[in-house]
């Protein structure tokens, strides 16, 4: 972990140019949450708040050990609790740290129309710059893991920064630092994948036949991965079995580069986002988006997108949120993603205890 961490940029939202180029590549960093070690103590949750000076929110016990029903604009890290029966009379209490997974192909960034509001560094961190955020919430829709949260007061969207300030000073993120059992590991991505592989082997020896590393290829891999002891229960953990970032948008971006017109680009964005918002569990204001696009005179694009929208609606449900085959992400290395055994994306906050 002593590797020097840089902040060279890989890509920015609504910005055609990608890498800052001339800088040497920095080490890709990652967290891996070893659920076998996690005791659900919420140290990460509290340490995140303390380090980031996030305000305490008023919460109420809703029949659960879970502090908040869901992530919020000032709770970027949430321990989710769920009891499941194992069939033999025993039960398991599945506990998962939920926070931004810092996808390699971040749906939020792809969806973001505000130039530079979302930045992906070459080290893998995906960060939001609220000074540039326009509050459109497309990132919320674009995220396959339902992470970013809109704040009504500031009209901005917030999420885990992977403690970019700490990481850039060669400190581990606050959640990692705090974690009492060392369940949240931090280091180079390769190193973390290697750790996870070793741990999965150990878990299998302990009888967890479905133990796995969660690092789905549909989003190009993650910079916060999980070692999941009960890999056959991804849905119970609230992890989509095969998350995707629709490829349309990236294709559009490449077209955009050729066109080079901000107005076209803006329209494409609108439609791309419109597309992205469909199939998400929260009803998106897509009608509005289409109307906007139309009003802006991009009728042709809008039509095309409406077509795609319709095809998406007849698709495989929320888990397969888009025509995955179109996306470059879907062509990622086979076998590195999780087995698609779960029901797909969670269908909303279940009764969690």
């Amino acid at each position: 972990m002593s590797t020097e961490l840089g902040l060279a940029i890989r890509r920015k939202s609504a910005t055609p140019a990608s890498s800052t180029g001339i800088r040497r590549d920095t080490v890709e960093i990652a967290k891996v949450v070893d659920i076998d070690l996690c005791i659900g103590c919420k140290a990460c949750e509290v340490a995140c708040k303390e380090w980031n000076d996030l305000p305490a929110e008023e919460t109420s016990n809703f029949g659960s050990y879970q502090s908040h029903p869901d992530l919020t604009a000032s709770t970027w890290d949430l321990m989710r609790f769920k009891e499941v029966e194992l069939g033999d009379g025993d039960i398991a209490w599945l506990i998962r740290k939920d926070s931004c997974l810092h996808c390699s192909d971040p749906g939020c960034l792809a969806a973001c129309p505000a130039p530079g509001a979302i930045v992906q560094y070459t080290n893998g961190i995906v960060n939001f710059d609220q000074t540039k955020c326009i509050g459109c919430q497309y990132c919320v829709a674009g995220c396959p893991f339902d992470i970013p949260r809109f704040d009504q007061k500031t009209k901005k969207v917030y999420k885990c920064t992977l403690c970019v300030d700490r990481v850039s000073a060669s400190l581990e993120p606050a959640c990692v630092k705090s974690c009492p059992t060392g369940a949240i590991k931090f280091g180079g991505k390769a190193e973390m994948v290697n750790y996870a592989a070793g741990k999965v082997d150990k878990l299998k020896k302990r009888g967890f036949d479905h133990a796995m590393l969660y690092d789905p290829s549909g989003v190009g891999g993650l910079h916060m991965m999980y070692v999941v002891p009960r890999g056959d229960r991804l849905g119970d953990y609230g992890l989509p079995s095969d998350p995707q970032v629709p490829g349309t948008f990236f294709s559009a971006l490449s077209v955009l580069r050729k066109l080079g017109s901000i107005s076209v680009w803006g329209g494409l964005l609108a439609t791309g986002i419109f597309y992205l918002r469909t199939g998400r569990r929260r009803p998106p204001p897509e009608d509005e988006a289409v109307a906007e696009a139309e009003r802006l005179g991009h009728q042709a694009v809008a039509d095309a997108e409406r077509e795609r929208h319709e095809s998406a609606l007849s698709g495989d449900g929320p888990g397969g949120a888009g025509p995955a085959a179109n996306g470059p992400a879907a062509n990622g290395p086979a076998g590195s993603g999780p087995a698609a055994t779960g029901p797909g994306q969670p269908t909303g906050p279940e009764v969690e205890r």
């Binding site: 076998d36 005791i39 016990n61 059992t181």
Partner: protein
């Protein structure tokens, strides 16, 4: 921890947090370390990943510890002795015990006198009218001393055992002095010789401890255990097999517990049960083993050591009883006498040196040999004066005043209503705390009419930990110095400042006016640089002690004298602050053995030893039972490894007893005499409130439990209107009551809740997230219902028993929707201890918070 002292000689966690990584199997029972000691608990996970440590969790509730355990088994709250009795029986019946260890390091071979009997739940010597035992028959069969050199005291080393300077790693001079008792001035009191116990090394004698134990626990069959505990037979036998497998020399098992076991009327005997099991399996004194009590507060260990406790002075020196008129009386009656020719009996032999050195620290020049070092000034309580008694005295109107410093009795209970009544009878109450507490506000608590409370209450704002230096001693006995970070705000003052101010005022008043027994006050050694606010560094030096002739700090308790030429506030900490400096400040990170001793990090008592009783980690030849995990090892000239808990250069061939703090020289499977109030072997009794009759004997409750005035009327009987078993506990997001002042923690776990089984909730129409009212015979609370499969109905003696969990952290004077300064409180009753019974353990009167009866209804 009387239970541990009764078994091993000292009352403390035997090992330490980091050592958990060295275990093969960890049995966690009556504790929830993943929630309540997360950062110490990590080492169990490290063990599991590195060496395959198995984690077993036994608890009434499926907790966050259960969630990561390899095996979880439910148990009815308060049925723990049945469980341990069953394990002991399983280990004995299946010959899983570590025979060589048992023979070498325990009193298994000792012969018990014929007067000792056990019959249908009662040991010999019971007086039903007084509800007490006369322990005279609980003794060994004695034979006249025959060992060479044996007389009044056995041949033993005076200083050797405790002689190692923490830093030196080498014995100091004269450690092998054969002179028992040290100085001619009377290191050993001229007590009548105690005859040694008769032994049978083959363990075959039917009156041997081993055979008596075997007979006692033969009744604890797996079926019986299941009938009492509600744990399915197959779960029990699975655990018995797994943990029993640590009885081989190359395996080590660790039992981790906390107040889930001690908060019972049988608490001391439950822990004795662990002791027996661990001794049989050969797991005490070894890395990865031990009986590991998890303390719950930052310095609960340090201030037990330093004797903020009614029955001891610093360093576990017993408070004298009436009739011990002189130091000689005290020395004749209190220190242990050797029961075996090879016993080192370090504590018993050196007791007077420690007592005299303490009196010199307290009374300075006024303490002289010709005035018995002012022994007579020491108060001699006439009866148990513990927590329950103190508040009972207040309730009876005999106590005028009480200081409550960082401790809120109203929340702590038991029976908060009764506690409130007690406080309302005081003339004055002083609350020393950084923050308002339920106790400081008791006079205007919801439902209390302030006009009817005539207690004068002072609130003294005291410094937080971060506003002063000084040491905290963790559960593993590591004394860690901390440094002051912030100045105290406003008019906030140090506890020491308050004590200093009061002392100077009282001294002036006594000097001016005279009064009752002014001398102990007028002569108290208080020559601190700033008497109005003694510095913690100065006190740390006083605790360590001085050679009064040279004025130099002592390096070890081995150099303390009983002639008044040394002082030591607490002999156990002699060596913590030697001439070279304050070792509690050390932060060295080397761990050459890889076993996690970290001898250069801070300082641990005694003498920087990290694992107590570590002589037992080796065999008769001084070689480790397990070469991969040596505790100490005889290298031909000295014991090396951890700091030896043994005479450092006494060769194995000399055959000295491995447990230097006991008169037997070995650990006690059978605890003779007055070491306990309720029997030499742990026996199952039901909690004071239980849903079932005792299936082991006709004796329902521990027969030696003390019953406070009127309390018995507040206990529910079997088959009463209160059919459900309740237990109380903490959650990881809170620490007692103070964290209601921490917004992030209130956010993380906001509201008072009650955990109850799905089946019970269905029966009562209670829904998850709705409200539930819990009633006991003493009061009621209302909280949010957390309906969960983690609380399982148990089959106990053919009955379905439901258990209900009630966390302790909530109260009216803190947390959501409160502003204590403005008198804004929550009005819904939420203090768990409103429900708990006013009764304590038969030995130490620790209240029975962890098993009592309630009813529940939808609220």
């Amino acid at each position: 921890m009387a239970s541990l002292a009764a078994s091993f000689g000292r009352g403390a966690m035997t090992n330490h947090w980091r050592d958990f990584k060295n275990s093969d199997v960890i049995l966690v029972i009556g504790a929830n370390p993943a929630e309540n000691h997360p950062c110490g608990w990590k080492w169990a996970h490290v063990g599991r990943d590195e060496r395959g440590t198995q984690i077993i969790h036994v608890d009434p509730r499926f907790t966050r510890t259960s969630a990561i355990a390899d095996v979880y088994a439910p148990i009815r709250a308060g049925a723990d002795i049945a469980f341990f009795g069953g394990l002991i029986n399983y280990v004995l019946q299946n010959k899983l015990y570590h025979e060589d260890y048992v023979k070498l390091h325990t009193n298994a071979a000792f012969i018990v006198a014929s007067g000792y009997q056990f019959n249908d739940g009662l040991f010999s010597g019971y007086d039903e009218a007084k509800r007490t035992y006369d322990p005279a028959t609980w003794d060994y069969e004695r034979v006249a001393p025959t060992a060479p050199g044996a007389g009044g005291q056995p041949a033993g080393s005076s200083g050797g055992a405790e002689a190692l300077g923490p830093a030196a790693g080498a014995p100091s001079g004269g450690t092998q002095s054969p002179v028992a008792g040290g100085t001619p001035a009377g290191g050993a009191a001229p007590a009548a010789p105690v005859a040694y116990a008769k032994t049978d090394p083959t363990l075959q004698d039917p009156r041997s401890v081993f055979q008596l134990m075997k007979a006692h626990y033969a009744r604890y069959t797996p079926e019986k255990v299941s009938e009492i505990t509600g744990m399915p037979v197959e779960k029990f036998t699975d655990i018995a097999k797994r943990f029993g497998a640590t009885g081989t020399p190359d395996k080590v098992g660790n039992v981790v517990y906390a107040v889930g076991l001690t908060h019972h009327t049988t608490g001391v005997q439950i822990i004795r049960g662990i002791g027996l099991l661990q001794l049989l399996l050969g797991n005490v004194g070894r890395p990865g083993g031990g009986v590991n009590a998890e303390r719950g507060h930052a310095n609960i260990q340090g201030n037990t050591d330093n004797a903020v406790s009614w029955e001891i002075f610093p360093g576990y020196l017993a408070v004298p009883k009436p009739g011990m008129n002189t130091m000689a009386d005290y020395m004749a009656k209190v220190p242990a006498k050797a029961s075996a020719p090879n016993a080192v009996n370090y504590f018993g032999t050196n007791y007077k040196k420690f007592m005299v050195s303490m009196l010199k620290a307290w009374y300075g020049d006024a303490a002289q040999p010709d005035n018995d070092f002012r022994y007579s000034w020491l108060p001699k309580p006439g009866k148990n004066s513990s927590w329950l008694t103190i508040h009972d005295e207040a309730r009876n109107g005999t106590l005028d005043g009480l200081f409550a410093a960082g401790m809120s009795g109203l929340n702590i209970g038991p029976d908060s209503k009764r506690m409130s009544d007690s406080m309302g009878k005081l003339k004055w109450l002083v609350v020393m705390d950084p923050l308002p507490t339920a106790t400081s506000e008791f006079w205007r608590a919801p439902g209390v009419d302030p006009k009817k409370i005539n207690t004068e209450v002072f609130f003294f704002p005291a410094t937080h930990w971060i506003e002063k230096d000084g040491s905290f001693v963790n559960s593993g006995r590591w004394a860690q110095w901390k440094w002051k970070v912030l100045d105290a705000p406003g008019q906030v003052k140090d506890d020491n400042w308050i004590l200093g101010q009061l002392f100077l005022r009282l001294k002036a008043l006594y000097a001016k006016e005279g009064g009752t027994l002014p001398d102990p006050i007028l002569n108290l050694k208080w020559d601190y640089a700033k008497p109005e606010n003694p510095s913690l560094d100065e006190i740390a030096q006083e605790i360590n002690g001085f050679d009064l002739a040279t004025g130099k700090r002592v390096s070890s308790f081995a150099t303390l004298k009983d002639d008044g030429t040394t002082s030591a506030g607490n002999w156990l900490y002699s060596g913590s602050y030697p001439p070279e400096g304050n070792l509690m400040q050390r932060r060295g990170t080397s761990d050459p053995t890889g076993l996690g001793y970290f001898h250069d990090w801070a300082w641990s008592w005694p003498a920087n030893r990290r694992i107590l009783y570590n002589r037992a980690s080796a065999d008769a030849n001084g070689q480790p039972w397990d070469r991969t995990r040596p505790g100490i090892r005889w290298n031909g000239t000295a014991w090396v490894g951890d700091i030896p808990d043994f005479p450092a250069t006494s060769p194995p061939a000399e055959g000295k007893g491995s447990f230097i703090m006991t008169g037997e020289g070995v650990a006690r499977l059978f605890a003779p005499g007055a070491l306990t109030s309720d029997g030499p072997f742990p026996e199952h009794y039901e909690p004071m409130e239980s849903p079932v009759h005792n299936a082991m004997s006709k004796v329902q409750n521990d027969p030696a439990v003390f019953l406070y005035k009127d309390a018995k009327d507040t206990f529910a009987a079997v088959d009463s209107e209160f059919p459900y078993v309740a237990t109380t506990y903490r959650v990881t997001e809170h620490e007692h009551y103070v964290t209601q002042n921490v917004p992030y923690l209130v956010e993380a776990m906001p509201d008072f809740f009650v955990e109850l089984p799905v089946e019970l909730a269905e029966k009562k129409g209670i829904t998850n997230g709705g409200k539930v009212k819990v009633r006991s015979k003493r009061g009621e609370v209302i909280g949010i219902a957390l309906v969960t499969k983690r609380m399982r109905p148990l089959k106990v003696a053919g009955k379905t028993v439901y258990q209900v969990g009630i966390p302790v952290h909530w109260h009216f004077a803190g947390g959501k929707d409160t502003d204590p300064a403005a008198g804004k409180f929550r009005t819904t009753p939420e203090m768990a201890n409103i429900l708990t019974p006013y009764v304590g353990d038969a030995n130490v009167r620790t209240p029975e918070f962890k098993g009592f009866l309630v009813d529940v209804e939808k609220a």
